[in-house]
Assembly symmetry: C2
Homo-oligomer: 201 residues x 2
């Protein structure tokens, strides 16, 4: 306890270090969060601590679709009302949730939990591609819909997955690119308009 | 496990709820943080969980200056090299750290751990005012420097503390208001220039 207080003492420094592990949280935010929790919400801090431990211990990947689940197979994969002929490949559970909210898809999913990013050292096995190939060998399957994001990395991921599955004789489609509903052409980026033109129907 | 996956299962929901207790973290950020930790940094999640529990259990308020400390009295208050005639009142440990970094203050501190905010129900006892009054009764003390922030709430806090301590016969000063070093008058707000004019020396 002989350090000057500008170096926060051990437990506080450990807490700030821990908070900085969260994505998007830098030194300033971590400090603000630590002081807030200790000053105003110790119960919340304990609750978060317990939730972190329970989630790390209890959450694993679904054996069929690779999403996070507490059981061996997630509830979506077990849902008998879903169409087993359709498999939609998404990058994350958040993307899956967005598709679910549309209410217009009743097939099954495969969640990559990431995207190909060779520059960051994220290769095919990191995003569960071997598991996807195995999953796609399901004889009930008629079509794989690739719904990775329309970013550079999402497009590369879509390309690699598409090539891999097509070479196995599967029908592979991609979400349509085009002008978003409600937008005015004047304010839509040129790449989107060009795609909407070439994919016109 | 019969819920659709757009409602994340129990442990995931609990983790997102826990993360939302952090200041500045909404539903979207909490979701992103939860997926990141479970997918890419389970060790970090455990480390954060342990740090939270250890900090809640181990951190308390310094008996003299009210800041966070693991001991009964913090290292700053115990530092015999500091001038016991000066007491600087700040809102937070972060403000104290900013003053320390200037290297131009060698007195002691009192950390309010907040600011008066009647609209939010934060009154004098919530910011340790009774402890400050007790601390200010130290016969060694010659001057109390109020260094609360120059915001509306910080100014109200400074005013209340100033009145309270002055009525007890103490010499109370306030950090100078004025034009920041390196700034051009053209871009300084009018209130600051007006203060700099009236406080000219």
């Amino acid at each position: 306890m002989s350090l000057p207080d500008e170096h926060p003492p051990g437990l506080m420094a450990a807490l700030m270090d821990g908070l900085r592990r969260l994505p998007g949280v830098g030194a300033k935010s971590a400090q603000r969060m630590a002081y807030h929790l200790l000053q105003h919400d110790r119960e919340g801090a304990l609750q978060l601590g317990r939730a972190l431990e329970a989630a790390v211990m209890g959450m694993r990947h679904c054996e069929r679709c690779h999403t996070f689940t507490e059981a061996a197979v997630c509830s979506t994969c077990l849902d008998a009302a879903r169409d087993p002929r359709l498999l939609c490949v998404v990058e994350s559970p958040a993307d899956q949730a967005a598709l679910e909210r549309t209410g217009s898809y009743r097939g099954l999913y495969f969640v990559l939990m990431g995207k190909l990013s060779p520059l960051d050292g994220i290769g095919a096995s990191d995003i569960g591609l071997p598991l996807l190939i195995e999953r796609a060998s399901d004889p009930a399957l008629r079509e794989v819909i690739i719904a990775t994001n329309f970013t550079a990395e999402g497009e590369v991921t879509a390309h690699v997955i598409g090539e891999t599955l097509r070479s196995r004789g599967l029908r592979v489609t991609r979400l349509a690119r085009g002008v978003p509903i409600g937008s005015e052409l004047e304010y839509v980026d040129l790449g989107t308009i060009a795609h909407a033109l070439s994919d016109r129907r």
